[in-house]
Structures are given as structure tokens and as C-alpha cells.
Point group: C2
Chain length 464, copies 2
Amino acid sequence: MRIGIDDMACYVPSLYLDIRQLAEARGIAYEKLAHGLGLLKMAITDAHEDAATMAAEAIAELMTKNNLRPEQIGRIYLGTESALDAAKPTATYAVEMVQQRLGGSFRRCDVVDMTFACIGATDAMENCLDWVAGHEGRMAIVVASDVAKYELESTGEYTQGAGAVAVLIKWNPRLLEIPRQFGVAMDSVHDFYKPRREQFTETPVFDGPFSNQCYQNRMTEALQHFRELSGAEEPALSDRWARMIFHLPYAFHGKRIYVEEFISERKQAGDWAAICESNGLEEPHSAILTEPLAFDKNWQAFVKAAGKTPEYKQFVKQKLEKAQRASSDVGNLYTASIFMALMSTFASDFNENSQLTGKRFGFVAYGSGSKSKVFEGIVQEGWAEVAGHFRLFEKLSERRAIDYGTYEKLHRYELSQPVFPQEGRFALHSVGEDGVTLGARYYGQFHLNGRAVVQRTQPAELVS
Amino acid sequence: MRIGIDDMACYVPSLYLDIRQLAEARGIAYEKLAHGLGLLKMAITDAHEDAATMAAEAIAELMTKNNLRPEQIGRIYLGTESALDAAKPTATYAVEMVQQRLGGSFRRCDVVDMTFACIGATDAMENCLDWVAGHEGRMAIVVASDVAKYELESTGEYTQGAGAVAVLIKWNPRLLEIPRQFGVAMDSVHDFYKPRREQFTETPVFDGPFSNQCYQNRMTEALQHFRELSGAEEPALSDRWARMIFHLPYAFHGKRIYVEEFISERKQAGDWAAICESNGLEEPHSAILTEPLAFDKNWQAFVKAAGKTPEYKQFVKQKLEKAQRASSDVGNLYTASIFMALMSTFASDFNENSQLTGKRFGFVAYGSGSKSKVFEGIVQEGWAEVAGHFRLFEKLSERRAIDYGTYEKLHRYELSQPVFPQEGRFALHSVGEDGVTLGARYYGQFHLNGRAVVQRTQPAELVS
């Protein structure tokens, strides 16, 4: 049996801040952000948007374009680290909205939230693959939705983004078969987290360089685990993969993090000495490495030089670059980033008329705290027809730029009215203020009639 | 293949408040709580305990008594609505502690948190059953851990409790085979939830009567879904089950909530008229039912009377009562309640030398927000030997009573020192106060040497 991803749909807020504006406001060189990290635009949630509305938009689009009724979907599993409640799943809010738009009933649909920083939706997908495999004809939707928001003026600010991706898991999928072999690496660390604090804040506590190191370590361990599980015979694992799909906290993270692995792989494959020679690279002798590699300046300089070789650039161009494109235009989507990277790759390959059927994609997922999963997908015959309907880059080109002042107001929640309401879009209607509805979130759809009004979903049951 | 629950272990805090003390302090009749709801003792977390330490204790006991090394466990999935972080799973903290005690490495163990109020751990179990079934010899641990804490003087206060249950999912299990057929019913409602609020609080917003109604409605729908999935031929589904294991927010909830279902079932089975006749019960004629049944006084009085018939009492005694026993002594454990109900049943049946091999247990899980799952288990030949080692009621009898004043201080977090530290027990060591460790939680084990000192787990990786 073949189980995997049949189709995908994304939702990205209609507002973005050009990274030039942020660079100017913060006195950071634009080149550092654009050419160093690959950051061009940050998707910004409007005043009425949150993880639930974005998830709902992505699910509704996925279902609509596949003519799916709610009764056909056995599961909607949400990965998020932007949950709106500690008990009631954000997925229930999303499903309530989708039901308002599409009609029908999700009464027998199993929904839940899964939490492990940026890898929670990958976890959700692995579990849905298992469940779908359990009975012919089952269908599940995995949805990743997050608002990657950092404190103003923090070092994470320029990596911000927001969005959701919904993924249809089916038998005989048209996009990717995903064999259920997941290499796993886990270790409890504090590289990025959102602890309980007296005063609520949705921004994380993080240590960027440490988190990069954790990502790299977990990735290396998960690659090794995947190698053992899959019985892959290629000396260099990435030789097996036509494309590599990383979790991208910023667009160039994959290509930055993979250099040391590339060195190891080329050593395994036996062509590293030739690459060094043709580039005049000399590997630091182990005797001069006094620190752990992650902190040794000689080693780090060598890795940096290795990343600039034509061989590595060719590797990046061939396998990594297409995944970066959407990321540059939206920023970090946390759980949704790896799925957006996959959509970006497929959409770009469709535009370039690539021949991908039967080829393998390698995936590197990561969640702080920390865990990595490595797995692969096999591109299916119908991929181009499906990817041709993503409209990914078209959607991204239809957004509205906001200025820095608007950005800051949205960040501080100082705008009670949406900047750019659109007919029929899901929106937060109101939040209960006391008693048994304190903090209860009510959603609906915009109805534009002179002014923007949110028409609420109908309460599902009588309240006592 | 047979997949299911091989063994279980629970952790309940060593402190409890006798419900008499609370009844006195609040001016509530003790009989109402003890005889009306089945509440006798509330398990109370000590100053150093939380959802992570309790989960760790339950996992460590389960692994120790089964001689399991960390490397053998492919998954540890945590269900909780008492998460300590919105991104880093509480499961990672638990695993870090278990590794400190048992040694070895969980490096390749997939851990994650699942959130759907009280049903999150049931969801985790369903997913782990699928995963374990995917490859012979796989083992997973599901752990449910929660602190059911309500505001002082609220109507939820007397249902409080705390604890964790760890469940070993294996091939050829010794306790229960669980066929992978889960009836599901879901609807987005606000019966009980923990919304984001500016000021953090771990207590929920809830509407008790409404939540009972949602529980009952979802249960009825999930029973119907299970009936269709399972192809069960019994006119009354509960005739199929030797025991029924409910999520118990309070001990008597299962028996209170099931009366209407019992009436429907006996009608299906054709013996309801005889039960009415022998008890002088007269069902209200539909013409006089002016309100929906849930609010109609005539109907509610009739249901109440039906619950007092010897037939219903016999049903409760035979199928529900053993599950209530532990609940009466610990209170609500949220996600862990249904698993505690199962342990309570097995431990009681072991003590009474019941013949259970080959019999079926029916399960009714519920999570507010809202979702129910109905499934069943088939008791395995080795059940008595395994249940004989639970030590459940022995553990509960070894706890310490605290007085009302201590309870209130613990509730308000006014005690910095533990009331009853025990050698080797897992404990919160400290919480980071600024910079990149703000809110980071550090754990360890008590070392009693004159005074209680927590020996910290070793940091897993160098921080940059």
C-alpha cells in the first residue's frame, strides 16, 4: 500500500512587512538580512487573525479544491506552538470555522493538538500516516499553524512570520508516498521555549546560537537513525535525495546547517579530498582543535570556507534552494515551515518543468526542546498536476505591504480594527469577558457592508 | 496480532486532604460530597511537584518493574492539560528525570505532548497502538499526568486531585488487548477550558452542568459510532462489557451520566417495560415534555428514579463500582482519570479473585471542548499476575493527611519547602530567572541529609 500526501494548501496573512523597513528601523544592514539569512518579507497577522483562523483557512481551501465533505475526514490533527488555550485544542476552533463555511458535520472527526515546538505538525503527520494506513480509504488532514512572534528589538524579530499549511493524507496519494520510517533524535534542552510566566506573553525565550547547535546535533543523530532504519546503501545519504526539505526558521538555515554534514558525507563517498584540493582547502589538523568543534575557530573557519565551494553551492542549488523561496517571502512559520518548504519546492519545480516522478525527497524536521526527525518521500506520478494548483507564489504576490508604524501597532495589539479585511475570511469575532465565558473565543467570517462585520459561527449546543 | 496494555504504574502525591476538612471549611454538607459524589480524599501536590515530576515517577516505576532500559522504548507520549510550557513538551522534562534515575539514553525515543483536555492521553494511546502495531516488538509508553486545580471556593474545588498513570503498550500484552476501533464524537464548545489570559492561572473556566450535558451527548454519539465500527450485535452495548471504564471527573460521574443510556439500552434489549413495572415507574408521556430532555423537570425526575432501581444499582455494582474506588481517594486526575479507573478496576478484581480472562471492558473517554471516544479492551490471560503488582490501594493508604491550613498554603504556592520530601523522589530544583534561562525548569531528585536538597539532572549539552 502507498500512503502519503495527496494535496496541500497554505494560508499566509495578507499583510507583510518588507525586511528593508525593519532593517532601517533597527539600524541593521539590509544585506545581512537579505543576503546573509535570505529574509525578504515577513508575513504579519492582521488584528483579527490567529493560529485558529489561519488553520481554518488552510483546511477550508484544501477541502474545497478536493471537493471533500467534512464527513469524509476522519481526523484533523493540528501541530502548533501558538495554542490559544491550555485545555481546549486550537484545532476545535479551526474546525468550527470550517464547518461554518462548508456546512456538513465534523461530529465524527477526531481532532487534537500536538505540541513539540516546530516539530509538532511533523509528529501529527507521522501519526496520521499510521492511522490512515490502518484502513483502506481513510483520509486525514494534518494542519500546521503558527504565529512566529518575537519581542520587538530582539534578535529573533527579523525572522518573524505567520501562516498555516494543511496536508491531505490519503491512500494512493498524488504528491508523495511517505514510507513510515522516521529517524528520531531527542534531548531535553532549553534552546527555545515558552515557559509559564505570571504575565502571559506569546514570545519565546531563546538562545539562537545554542539552538542552531542543538538543531545540527539532533539532525546528525536523526540522519544516522534514519540510515539504520532505511537500510540506505548510499555512502552519502543526501545522494539518495533529489531535494531536501528542512524546517526553516529562516530561509538560509538549511544550507547553513548542512555544511558539516556535507563534509562528512563527501568523506564517506570518497570525494572530499578532491574537493579540498580543487578549492585549495586544508582541513585543520586535529591537534590544533582545542575546543569542541562547535566552538573551535579554526574548524568554524574551515566549515565556512567549505560552504563557499562550488561543489556545496551546486548541492544547495540542486537540492535546497527551491525550498527557501517561500520562506524568504513569509518568514518563520514554526510548525508550518517544513510544509511550506515542501510546497515551495513543488511549486518551483512545477514552474521549471522538472522531472521528479519516482525521485526521493529527504526531510529534516526539528523542534526546539529538542527533537529532530528524518524521513523521506517518493514523488508520485500526479505531482505536477497537483502542484500546478498550489497558486503559492501567486498568493504571495497578492499581499499588501504595511509600513513600519502599522507593523509595530499590530505587534503591540494596538489596532482593534483589521488593516485589510476581506469578504468571507475567517476572523476572531470576540472574546468572552466574564463568568463561564471568560476568555472564550468566538469566531466567524467577515461580511463587508460599508464596514467590516464578523458574522459569528452558531453556538453548537444550548448552554445551561 | 494482539496489541494493547501490558502493564501500568501510577504516581499519586503523598499528601491528601480529607474531604471532611474541605466540607467544614466551605460549609458544605459532608454527605453531599461523600455520598452524593463519592469524594473522600483529594490528592494534593507538594511544593516541589508538578505534571512533569509525577509523569516521571510513573514512567520510572513502570520501567523499573518491567526491567526496561530507555533504549527499548520507542515512544513516550504524554497527555496533559497541565503543560509547563507552550513549546517545549512537558514530556521532555519527564524523560530527562527518568534518565537521571535509570541511566541509559532516550536519544532515539519519540516524545511529544497531546492536548485535548481530559482525553489527550486516550488520544496518545490510540496513536501509540497504531505505531506499535507497525512493527513487531515495538514498545511505547503513554503517560497521563495532571494537576486538577480549581479556584479556592469555586464549585470545582471539591473535585480536585492530582496524579499520573504510565501505560506500557506492547505486542502480546498481558493485561488488555485493545482492538483499534475507536468511536469518536466531537463538537467545539466551551464547557471547560483554560484560555490565554493576561495573568497566568492554571485553574479552568467551566460550567459544570453544561459540561455534564456535553459529556453525556458526546458519549451517546460515540457509543453509536463505536456500535457501527465494531458491528456489535448486542441490543444493549453494555451487555457486551464485563466492566465499564469512564473518565471520572468525580467518582460517581460514570454512574450518574449513564442512567439515560441505560434506559435506552434496556428499551433496545426489550426489558425496560418490565423494569418500570416492577419498580412502579411511569415514563413521562412525550406530550408533557415541553423542554429539551436535558432541561425538562418531569424527564429529569424520571431519570433520577430510574437510577435508583435495583436493576440500575446492580448494573453499577457489577460494571462501574470498582473503577470508582481509587477516584474517591484521589479526586480528579484529568487525563489520568480513565487510566486510574482501569487500575482501580483491575486491582479490585484481583483482590476479589474475579474471573476476567477473555472478557471485554468498555471505555468511555471524554475531554471538554469537546470530544468522546468509546473503545473496548479484551482481558488477557496474564492480567491477574500483572494487576497483583499494582500496589494501588497500598500506595493510597501510605499517604499523609494534611490539614486545611496546609492545603490552602500549597494551593496559593506559599510554601517554598516541601511538606513531605522523600529520598530519591523527583522534584523541581529551580526555575531560571533571566536572560536565556528565564522560566527554564530544572529538576532533580531529593537527597535527604538533615535537610531536603534536590540534586539536579546534568545539563545535556553545553550552552553557547
